[in-house]
Amino acid sequence: MKQKHWKILPIIALTILASASFARHDDQTSPRVIEIKAKRFAFEPSELTLKKGEPVVLRLSTEDVTHGLYLKPLKIDADIEPGKVSEVKITPDQVGKFVAICDHFCGAGHGNMHMVVNVVE
């Protein structure tokens, strides 16, 4: 029994080390991914906080009709179509409080469908 443990333990240790190494590698090269869901007449989440200079990927999807996500200062201009996932990669280059809007008319409450984006140092 004791002999069996000596054989398994190094394998477990190696697996943990390898996982940690991969995770660190992932952190260093891949931008943070933020899921954003649109549905009439709101975005989920309704508020985001990003860091200036940090690349992020916004993964956009809709639960009902076509929507848009538009925020000129951060160069966001995407369509969000049913059944598809859109990805927008951005690197905020200015700090502040911004308001992204749905710019694809989606019904009576469209005019107030927005998401607050805070960019901090």
């Binding site: 538009y70 201009d77 809007i101 710019d103 694809h104 008319f105 019904g107 107030n112």
Partner: protein
């Protein structure tokens, strides 16, 4: 340079925003010392000599809208029709710059609202009614229902030497005119000289007024570049539910107030707090008012010589339709 200024000054569009809409007077005004030969010259250049006339701009009637904030429905629109009919000087035409109706998921219901708009508008004595869609009219179905009821969403026509262009910036669902319509616009303008007086009627502003509130047109700069060579361009729009004036290059942009509810000045509220001004049952027409734009007496006619005067409408004035009549009788415009 002098000649350029004179060319631009020949036509004044004096606008009076009276809460329920805007009265526009087109006045050929040769600069001091010039004679009517210049108007004849423009007539030869543009095919028709400009002659004075007036027209009314209404906007954002939102027929079918059920508050909040405004529980009055079509009452303001119906009063506007009565008010226009009561003007001593009848306008040649009435234009409506979009959001004639409130959108509906149900095509039959939306069609009913369009018919209701037509029923109310048909009471106008004015022989010509021209409109352009807003996103609530044409944003959900690409303008299919709108075309059935009102015709094409972009078109042009000439009236007494003025070229009117209805430019759709809503039916692509996004705030844009689109490359096809910009190509159409270029072609439409080719027959005109640079001196032609041009009135563009559209729904959304053609410049970045407040993008966070969707008060912009993403390809508005391209449109204005097409219009840039022309000396006399006036853009009339709605969408923002408040009056606004803006001047870029040779072009002047005027927004008309809504006939359903008002939005506040976006500079006075937080950017993420876009909300209509609350309805005040004791003063239901608060924030409606009169805006008079005059040529300033004693100043040389030029783009920047307009005098602007705001007068808030009282409930009595609105009910008895006296405010605008008094202004007109006093020769304020």
């Amino acid at each position: 340079m002098k000649k350029d200024m004179n060319r631009r000054s020949f036509m004044k569009i004096a606008t009076t925003s009276f809460g329920i809409g805007m009265l526009c007077q087109v006045l050929p005004v040769p600069a001091v010392g010039e004679n009517h030969d210049y108007l004849n010259f423009l007539g030869k250049q543009n095919g028709e000599k400009p002659t004075p006339f007036s027209f009314v701009q209404l906007s954002d009637t939102h027929v079918g809208f059920n508050g909040p904030p405004d529980p009055l429905g079509t009452k303001a629109f119906e009063h506007a029709v009565d008010m226009v009919n009561g003007l001593d000087q009848q306008p040649d035409l009435v234009i409506v710059t979009g959001d004639l109706t409130q959108d509906s998921e149900k095509p039959d219901e939306h069609a009913g609202r369009m018919q209701q708009f037509k029923d109310i508008a048909s009471r106008l004595k004015t022989p010509m009614l021209r409109m352009v869609p807003g996103e609530h009219d044409a944003g959900l179905d690409g303008g299919v229902l709108y075309r059935e009821h009102f015709g094409e969403t972009s078109y042009s026509f000439d009236h007494r030497g003025v070229h009117f262009i209805a430019l759709d910036n809503v039916s692509r669902a996004k705030p844009e005119v689109g490359p096809e319509r910009i190509t159409w616009l270029k072609k439409d303008l080719t027959r005109f000289s640079k001196t032609a007086p041009i009135v563009v009627m559209t729904h959304r502003p053609l410049f970045d007024l407040k993008p966070e509130w969707e008060w912009f047109t993403s390809d508005g700069d391209e449109v204005m570049n097409v219009l840039a060579p022309y000396d006399n361009v006036t853009v009339l729009y709605g969408h923002i539910h408040r009056d606004h004036e803006h001047e870029i290059g040779h072009a002047k942009h005027y927004a008309a107030r809504s006939l359903i509810f008002a939005f506040p000045d976006p500079e006075t509220v937080a950017v993420d707090q876009k909300k209509p001004i609350p309805f005040d049952k004791d003063n239901p027409f608060k924030n409606l008012g009169i805006r008079v734009v005059n040529e300033t007496p004693g100043k040389r006619p030029a783009a920047n010589s307009l005098e602007i005067k705001d007068v808030e409408l009282s409930l009595r004035e609105f009910n008895e339709l006296v405010g605008i009549q008094q202004l007109l009788k006093n020769g304020a415009i």
